[in-house]
Amino acid sequence: MPLAIDVHDLVKRYGSRTVVDHVSLAIEQGRICGFLGPNGSGKTTTLRMICGLLTPDGGGGTCLGHDLVRERDAIKRQAGYMTQRFGLYEDLTIRENLEFVGRVYELDRLKERVDGALERLGLATRQGQLAGALSGGWKQRLALAACVLHEPKLLLLDEPTAGVDPKARRAFWDEIHAYAAQGITVLVSTHYMDEAERCHEIAYIAYGELMARGTADEVIAQSGLTSYIATGPGADRLAPKLRDAPGVTAAAAFGATLHVSGPDRERLLAAIAPLRTDSIKWTEAPPTLEDVFIHLMGRAHDNAPGG
């Protein structure tokens, strides 16, 4: 499979701050890659560099076979970028927005395409409303419809489902999988774990550095994390006692149970040993993606200058 995105050592600095630090990313055509990382970790900045909106201060590569810097126009024509902040015109109607986008991409059969998009969106009856009057979730769906209108080969989606209800989110992901099946590559940033699990692969970035890469299972396996689950009366109330214990990266209550994880099995066991009582049962469990991400975030923080 050819690589849809093949960038290496991307660097972006704002003043003296390095916001993206030597990030390399290769994604095969037709794959859905989830882009995760804490707030301010550089996801949006990386996406902007990939779609030609920002010039990298270092590194480079290709996107759909076109050079990131020199062939911006070609990339822009074949990629669809959905901005994190709503980027359509609130003072234009839903239909006018779609028509504008269609005209900018010089699409033929404009009316037909716009009608089709409105139909799929379920907004055909509201097409005359101003986009600014839509609720947050509907704005997101309109923005997605606008960025796939020109049938791009690559979708760069920046938190497309922020504020979208579960049913619409599911529909949204079904749609993304349908695009992937057609051979469209998707790089999508998200903060939702369930969405990360629906991706073919994951890239995790923290403080501008790429920390993990691979399928969800690979990322979990690479982390070398051990997790235990405590059940029994009052298990969930043990979290504060464990959170700062040595060898524990995360301790969080899930309903009546407690999840604890740490990178070193022996030290984790030592930490929970005093809490082993007759009424509370400890069992080892595979770590979740969330455990891994919290662990990675902590590790990156230790490395971060001044952090």
């Binding site: 909106l53 822009k76 900018v104």
Partner: protein
Amino acid sequence: MWARLIAIVIKEALQLKRDRLTFAMMFGVPIMQLLLFGYAIDTDPRNLPTAVIAADDSQITRTVLSALANTGYMRFTHRPASEAEANALLQRGEVQFVVTIPSDFTRRLVRGERAQIAIDADATDPMAAANPLAAAQPAIMQALARDLVGPLAGLRARPDAVELVLQRRYNPEGKARLNIVPGLLAVILTMTMVMMTALAVTRERERGTMENLLAMPVRPIEVMIGKILPYVVIGSVQVAVILFVSRLLFDVAIEGSVALLALGTALFIIVNLAIGFTISTVTQNQLQAMQASIFILLPSILLSGFMFPFRGMPVWAQWLGETLPATHFMRLVRGLMLKGAGFGDVTGELLALLAILLIVTTVAVSRYKVTLD
């Protein structure tokens, strides 16, 4: 190229249509200013304060003075004892005119020699001086015709029995300055056109739509022309409205070629739009864009010859004025509307506008970034 350009034009036009307030302002403001300037600033003021030095007190002198007063333009407020005192009054602006009747006036008139009356006018505001001076001579002649009876009746037939010596002080060349309409055209167009485009682009940045626009394959020149075109139409309509209202209310007609006026106006509008676009490439938000527009607008009012006579300004200010499109446009419109100038007379101004356009467009296109850097 064309499809993308049209896409932007349609989008801008739709947004403009939705922005009712701005839309109303673009037509309301010019008419309001026109009425304000046209009516509030009386171009034909009456009862102007006048000083009289009458060294010769006779029946005929009194006739002449009352004739001047009866024109309604002059009101005798001062009777200075000397010419120096009268000059000081004029200098301070306490009087608009000084009427001097020499001591030998009656004697010369009776003898059939030419008798002189001097009127010195403060012509800093040429409008204020023009009508009273024009009315003075016929008024005097008429009054004398009535009063020259008996042995003096023979003088009646002589139209040059009394010679009026007029002297315009301070602004001798400001004669036919029908400044207001050309000046307003320039100022209103500068104001709305520069500001509107400057805001149109910075608004995209402020609302976050710029990122989306830049992610699409539009070229800077397409965005620029696409954003400018709808305003060219608006500007043209503004001009038409101003010209129509001036014609209707102030009876200001176009002496020269209408086509030439249209050409000059179109050029001027485009220059202003390009300036607005350039402003938007260097400012971050709408407030900054607004301030930068005012930064252009103020000199356009003060240094273009609209507010003060161009030749009355210091040399450095004149140089600054020459760089402003409003200066050249105002000259062009004045020439065309008032003096009936032809193409040859205005090529200089057209070329100057073209040169400014070229420079500004180059700056705009080179400053407009296709990235968010």
